[in-house]
């Protein structure tokens, strides 16, 4: 039990600090270690856990909480969640603080202004890739486009779009 918790902690911290550019980059390594090395869960369970955390609200990477739950119960889930968010937030605190203190330097401003369009391009790519994976038929493409248009043009709370999508799915229309 304690050995498993320590294992979850050490690897969770490592994945948290390696997740440069988002939690999805460490997904393959998490799968390799938790499924193939430790046998905490099956490959199918891994995919399901990932889908569940995609549908649930919250930041990316919450799948490790479910892996921790599977491996060591509630303490495992809590240890995994803390290992997932505390180390990367500490790094963000110190690096972010350094950037804020030196924001008046010319090159810091140039990095910030220069990288803004590149990051926006990366986000556009991420949403395009996401949509391409999810929208496997015409109905799903139409739903994505309608939601994108409404969310872009109106101030409607997006929760209604998500709820409408979920209801369409549950009704079996998608």
């Amino acid at each position: 039990m304690w050995a498993t918790l320590l294992d979850l902690l050490v690897h969770g911290v490592m994945w948290s600090m390696l997740a440069v550019g988002g939690s999805n980059v460490t997904l393959a390594d998490i799968q390799r270690y938790t499924v193939e090395t430790r046998h905490w869960l099956t490959s199918a369970q891994f995919v399901t856990f990932y889908s569940i955390t995609q549908a649930a609200p919250g930041p990316n990477g919450m799948a490790v909480a479910l892996i921790g739950l599977q491996a060591a119960g509630l303490p495992g889930a809590l240890v995994s969640t803390l290992a997932n968010c505390v180390p990367s937030s500490c790094i963000a605190f110190f690096v972010g603080g350094w950037f804020e203190q030196h924001r008046d330097r010319r090159w810091v401003g140039a990095v910030r202004r220069g990288l803004a369009p590149v990051t926006v391009g990366l986000l556009a790519s991420a949403s395009f890739v996401l949509a391409r994976e999810i929208d496997i038929d015409v109905r799903r493409i139409a739903l994505t486009l309608v939601c994108a248009a409404i969310a872009f043009r109106s101030k409607l709370n997006p929760i209604w779009l998500v709820l409408a999508g979920a209801l369409l799915g549950l009704s079996g229309m998608m």
Binding site: A55, S89, G114, V120, G121, S125, V146, A148, A151
Partner: protein
């Protein structure tokens, strides 16, 4: 405690008063609670549209840092904004808020899954929820595109990055290694016109 005073933020006079610890906690908790299919659209809506803590452009300029640092970008935004307004305890309040509900909900879903693991409901739910969530992501990306300074340089950089990563699927590290220094150099040459 606070290493960065609010005065360090440009145009501090024109913005609402500095959020308290509880406001940081509460607003990021709402983002965490409502962020179905990804929290970024909800974080942008809260920070830019509802609370006006940052302008559209300031949000777009904070993103590169939040994206390049390890961890989810919104967790990094919570850390950086919490620090800016209330120091270390502000960061802790914002990050705790962001993770509170998602942790509880995910663990409850985990227990539910153990009981009803073969239910097709998850598949049905996802088949409608995920396309809607993808739409929100696209809308957020579009809002960020129009928030950038209106010049050819920005537009070309967005399009080249999108073509390289989104369409051609080139390795992210290579794209950043080329476009990062290039974009910084271009911004270095042009004056910092913040209008």
């Amino acid at each position: 405690m606070t290493t960065s005073s609010p005065d360090a933020v440009p145009s501090a006079a024109s913005r609402p008063e500095v959020p308290t610890h509880f406001e940081l906690f509460r607003n990021f908790a709402i983002v965490g609670l409502t962020g179905f299919g990804g929290v970024l659209p909800w974080a942008r809506r809260m920070i830019v549209e509802r609370r006006a803590w940052l302008s559209d452009l300031e949000f777009a300029e904070l993103l590169p840092l939040a994206q390049l640092l390890p961890g989810p970008n919104v967790a990094n935004i919570a850390t950086i904004l919490g620090r800016r307004y209330r120091g270390a305890t502000g960061s802790a309040a914002a990050v705790f808020g962001l993770y509170l509900f998602p942790t509880i909900i995910t663990i409850l879903l985990g227990y539910a899954y153990r009981r009803w693991s073969d239910s097709p409901i998850t598949d049905h739910l996802l088949s409608g929820l995920m396309p809607a969530a993808a739409g929100l992501m696209i809308a957020t990306a579009l809002k960020l595109v129009v928030s950038l300074p209106r010049n050819t340089q920005s537009l070309v950089l967005v399009c080249v990055t999108f073509a390289a990563v989104g369409v051609l699927a080139l390795p992210l590290l290579w794209v950043l290694a080329v476009l990062g220094p290039l974009a910084t150099w271009l911004a270095w040459r042009t004056p910092a016109d913040r209008s």
